[in-house]
């Protein structure tokens, strides 16, 4: 059996095979680690078994101790938000109810790989301009319609509608959009046959597959446009069907009865999502009264409390983080010396210990994580209070009051407080302002100096493109560096991990030296579940996958 092929038999790109050879030969000393290789190989269409095989290993089998038992209703504590159009989803919670009956084309797994869902496989050309999407056979919508290439094209067209309010998919599919019309450009999408779609992009884009895994990219039925409300137009391809969706109260789904799900049958009879509000202490009472089996997320001090209740903890290392960022259009942060001084005065490891109880990994102020395939390691930087003071004095800003604004939430507030304390140790005049969520979000990207939470994306270049490119909607720092933009564009068209890592080294250095962010750590995410819940774990991007979950019946 040869391993050097994609799932359809065509050979994998040369750079992927070269990386595999290097890894096999090395023994851990290669520039590409196993995790990076797996992610890159799966983007280019290798199966899990094939990817591991290239490394000379067997794919790890999931450690299923027992067979799943059919039956039971899972009770989940999660906020129930607006059932709007999936492409306008802005909270992971909305995605989690919808993903029980709607599915994406590709899924980003908790093992950091890309797993085909509604696609069977895909091929990417070596320069990342041609994508061939091979749809999965035998998929039906729960109203009986078969799933075909027309449905995929319908969804891609909707994702590319740039001028629809709140459509965040348009930014992800920017390379497919015609600048003049604001819609899918002509000649890009080709319906090869019922189960194959070809995309011919005008410019290279290696992030397309990764973008298809995000929660707004759930695939909807062609009739969705008549009533773009996912609670009312709930025709989907998933293992469950929607029963009800009451904002602020509860939502429930039941095992699919109309047609077979392509993956077989879910073990659970149904899932009830119950909204317990924003205060995590309500979940403690809920777990104790056995009103819920699992929660969406366990935060900070509640992790220990929930542990002590005898619940099972699930942890995921992620690239989710918080940035204490300056906005360079406001003085004194327009002076690079001031920004560098702020960075130098802070020790990231201490901020991790104080701001997130040590639950995570230390970061390096450039927003690319070790778990990203293209992470390039930079030389370590130590805290340097004297150096920081000197820079601030040179800039003449030692006496300026620096107001650090944060939202009133547990870990961001604590992190901002810890940063402020360290800055004060260096003699800077820092004032702390904490705003409630309802006012903070009104002006979140205008504050001169504030802290923001950032969720992770599968590839390191994605957040950089969203947050630090000139003129982006979410560029809260106002950072604008033509050299950075040019190098980022180069990285975004370089599929080879090794080559991209070299470019990333420069990109990371530019961002780190600019001092626009103090990005102290990567957060680990946690959730808790009752011992009866089997085969569920927390996901690095907060997705909840229940199709294999089962409840142990007493």
């Amino acid at each position: 059996m040869t391993f050097g092929t994609r799932k359809d038999g065509r050979p994998l790109p040369k750079h992927v095979l070269d990386s595999a050879a290097k890894l096999r030969a090395s023994d851990g000393g290669s520039a590409v680690t196993r995790r990076e290789f797996l992610a890159m190989a799966s983007v280019f269409g290798a199966s899990t078994t094939g990817a591991y095989g290239l490394l000379g290993l067997a794919a790890p089998a999931p450690a299923l101790a027992r067979e799943g038992v059919r039956g039971g209703t899972l009770l989940v504590s999660m906020r129930i938000l607006d059932p709007k159009d999936p492409r306008t989803f802005d909270w992971g919670e909305m995605g989690n109810v919808a993903r029980q009956f709607l599915e994406p084309l590709v899924r980003y797994t908790a093992d950091y790989t890309f797993e085909p869902m509604l696609l069977e496989s895909w091929e990417v050309s070596d320069d990342a301009t041609e994508y061939v999407l091979n749809l999965r056979q035998g998929v039906t919508w729960n109203n009986g319609d078969p799933f075909t290439a027309d449905d995929v094209i319908f969804n891609i067209e909707r994702w590319c509608e740039r001028d629809v309010e709140g459509n965040s998919m348009a930014a992800r599919f920017a390379t497919l959009i015609d600048g003049a019309t604001g819609k899918l450009a002509e000649g890009i999408v080709e319906r090869v046959d019922d189960l194959t779609v070809r995309l011919s992009l005008p410019t290279p884009d290696i992030t397309l597959i990764a973008n298809m895994t995000d929660y707004p990219a759930l695939v909807v039925h062609p009739s969705f446009a008549d009533n773009p409300n996912v609670a009312e137009s709930s025709i989907g391809t998933g293992p469950f069907e929607l029963v009800e969706w009451n904002v602020g109260s509860n939502a429930s789904v039941m095992r699919r009865e109309n047609g077979m799900w392509w993956g077989g049958e879910a073990y659970l009879d149904g899932i009830d999502f119950i909204d317990y509000g924003t205060d995590p202490s309500a979940e403690i009472a809920a777990f104790e009264s056995e009103e819920i089996h699992v929660n969406y997320e366990s935060v900070s001090e509640y992790i220990d409390i929930l542990d002590s209740l005898g619940l099972i903890q699930s942890e995921s290392v992620t690239a989710a983080t918080g940035c204490v960022r300056t906005n360079v259009t406001n003085a004194p942060y327009d002076d690079p010396k001031v920004r560098r001084a702020l960075q130098m005065a802070v020790d990231n490891a201490t901020i991790l210990a104080l701001g997130h109880a040590g639950r995570g990994e230390v970061a390096e102020n450039h927003h690319v994580a070790p778990l990203h395939p293209e992470y390039a390691e930079l030389p370590r930087r130590e805290r340097d209070i004297e150096g920081a003071k000197k820079l601030m004095q040179e800039a003449g800003a030692m006496d300026t009051e620096l107001e650090l604004i944060s939202v009133d939430d547990a870990w961001l507030k604590n992190t901002s407080d810890a940063v402020a304390a360290q800055l004060r140790e260096a003699g800077f005049d820092v004032k702390r302002t904490v705003l409630p969520g309802s006012t903070y979000w009104n002006d979140w990207n205008k504050y001169p100096y504030s802290s923001t939470s950032w969720a992770m994306r599968p590839l390191g270049v994605q957040v950089l493109a969203l947050a630090y490119r000139t003129g982006e909607a979410w560029n809260e720092t106002g950072f604008s560096d033509p050299e950075f933009d040019a190098k980022l564009a180069e990285a975004l068209s370089t599929p080879d991990v090794g080559a991209r890592t070299v470019i990333m080294k420069d990109i990371e250095t530019i961002l780190q030296d600019s001092g626009v962010i103090i990005q102290p750590y990567w957060r680990s995410l946690f959730c808790h579940m009752a011992p009866v819940v089997q085969d569920y774990r927390v996901h690095p991007v907060y997705e909840m996958h229940f199709e294999k979950t089962w409840l142990e019946q007493a």
Partner: protein
């Protein structure tokens, strides 16, 4: 009597109009409108998108026109589809008309809740019912216990019973609900495990002793102290009056004196206070409902305020005015019947 009723109802309507206009002006302050638009479009929407949503949904029309539309004296304007130019209903999730028609409070339509994505009535009335049930049980527990404590302490003023019960009463009044609620949850739900720390199953599966006892207890104990102290003061005053002394001197037993002669007069003042507990409960219920996840009126009010849900907030303020003024009216009329010394002409 009839004149009094008519005058009171007139004052109630006037208060409703004034309060709703005040609330309406507050919710239409620009930061609040921005907050509303952000929650309806996207957490990280741009300024242009926020403004276009507000314009499209009629939030930039003149203040009095919009107030009139909410009230039902002026017609509600539908939105316009930007692509086709046709009139479309403003909010699809509640059956708003796509023509200009009068559909306001006077016609019985409370509007659309932008937070809960449903007509206001569909959330408001079940929530009022839920809070009503909570209030009923709280009153049932609180009133007899408070009166009992008050009477027992007041009938022998200065005794050890009095001192002990008074300390308890003052202690319970001094402890706010968010402290006592947490304490009771820890003791009864976590340590002893007798009761449920969360009332979520009360709304979904029905009220049982286990899931409802803690919220009722938290609210009842807080209000109990206050009513008990008033009752005690009133009782003590009555026990020193001449006719009680006469009855004792004539040889009636202490028990008969208290029950047959003192109580009836002592309970007049507490009655007014108990009626005043109703509006207090309407606000005090907010903390308890959030803490125990019981989705009643208080929870609705907090969510509406936090998300600047205009129609829901206005409806809640109307309900508050109605409850406060109605209970005051009942209190005044009841007082007149209880106390023959006050008779209205």
């Amino acid at each position: 009597m009839r004149l009094l009723l008519v005058k009171r109802l007139g004052i109630m309507v006037l208060t409703m109009v004034c309060l709703s206009m005040g609330v309406f002006s507050l919710v239409n302050l620009d930061p609040n409108l921005r907050k509303l638009s952000i929650s309806q479009t996207n957490m990280r929407a741009s300024d242009a998108q926020i403004e276009s949503w507000l314009v499209r949904n009629g939030y930039r029309e003149p203040f009095l026109e919009r107030y009139g539309a909410w009230l039902g004296v002026l017609p509600k304007q539908p939105g316009t589809d930007p692509d086709t130019g046709e009139t479309v209903p403003r909010f699809r999730f509640c059956d708003e008309a796509d023509t200009a028609v009068r559909a306001g409070v006077l016609q019985g339509d409370f509007g659309c809740s932008t937070k809960f994505k449903t007509p206001v009535g569909e959330r408001l009335f079940p929530a009022l019912r839920a809070t009503g049930i909570l209030m009923f049980w709280v009153m049932l527990v609180m009133v007899p216990s408070a009166l009992l404590i008050g009477v027992l302490s007041g009938m022998r003023e200065g005794s050890r019973t009095d001192r002990g019960l008074s300390t308890l009463a003052i202690g319970s009044t001094a402890t706010p609900e968010y402290v006592s609620g947490v304490l009771f949850t820890v003791i009864f739900a976590s340590w002893l495990g007798w009761l449920n720390g969360s009332a979520a199953t009360a709304t979904s599966k029905g009220i049982t002793f286990e899931n409802f006892a803690l919220p009722v207890m938290t609210m009842a104990i807080y209000g109990m102290g206050y009513v008990a102290r008033i009752t005690r003061a009133s009782m003590a005053e009555v026990m020193t009056s001449q006719y009680i002394r006469t009855a004792r001197l004539k040889g009636l037993s202490f028990g008969k004196v208290v029950v047959r002669h003192a109580l009836r007069n002592a309970l007049i003042a507490p009655f007014t206070v108990i009626m005043l507990q109703f509006p207090w409960l309407l606000t005090g219920v907010v903390i308890v409902e959030i803490m125990f996840r019981y989705q009643g009126f208080g929870y609705l009010l907090v969510e509406a305020a936090g998300n600047n849900d205009i129609d829901l907030l206005l409806a809640c303020s109307l309900v508050s005015v109605a409850v406060v003024l109605l209970t005051q009216l009942i209190s005044d009329i009841g007082y007149v019947y209880l106390n023959p010394r006050m008779r209205v002409r």
